[in-house]
Amino acid sequence: MDEETKRRWDVRLGIVAPILTVVGLLVGVWQFNKGEENKTRLEYELLDRKDKIDFQRKLWLERLTIYKSIAEQAGKIAITDKNDKAFKGLVQTFDASYWGMMIFVEDPDVERAMIDFHDEIVDYQKGQSSEDKIKLRANNLVKACRKSVEPGTAP
């Protein structure tokens, strides 16, 4: 290799080397930014998932509390005679839960059991049903509630 060729190669390398350095730097910056972006996205996703689980857990605990309250209400209605002064008040309390908090937490099976119990109360008040049937409906309702919060259903 003569001097002229060597000089040409030196010039070429002198031009290419800084370009490669700049490209390398740019790729490095891009990679860093991309990594940071992914990290931030993953952190957000994790937070989002955690929020959802927290919400579902709170809802499950709330469901448990409301189901316990409904079970108590159904039990009281089942053992109270319709001519008893307290009966009307118990039914009113149940109706408030029926159209209120239960809608917030109930699943379709519990909703059906609620409708059945509600209809049975209406029939019972009209003299078209019996105490035994009210008790059976209460039993079905409480079982549906229990099934809805069985182990494994909690988030």
Partner: protein, 145 residues
Amino acid sequence: MFRTLSKLIVLALCYVVLANASSFAQDTAAQIETRLAGSHGRDWIYKKIVGFLGPGEKCEQGEKYRFKADHTLVITQCIDSRMHIETQDWSIESVDVLETHIKVGNNSYILRFWDTPKGHFMALRTKAIDKTQETTDKEFQLAEE
């Protein structure tokens, strides 16, 4: 001796439990069919039929269902001042302690009976699927036989 006695006690307890359980026992499908249709047929009035005096079959109002023992149902309705008669089939679909399901034509209902001093009553119930819907009853009174 003690073993036999304990067995007897267990049996007695079982009897008590079963006797209590039988207090929730439901009517059989055959009993329900008899209650609905009698031995030949029974008329259940939805709206009392009011006819006009004079010739022809003109009417003012009314609707009655005649459930026959052969599982046919004759529906007599007053529509536009004229009596319309329609025949459908009926059958008991299922019976449990709480609900009896009956099929009338192509529709399924919950069949309910109750008695008051005013008479014997029956209702065909269409149950609400969710809370936003209404449970509806079509109530009938047994016509005097």
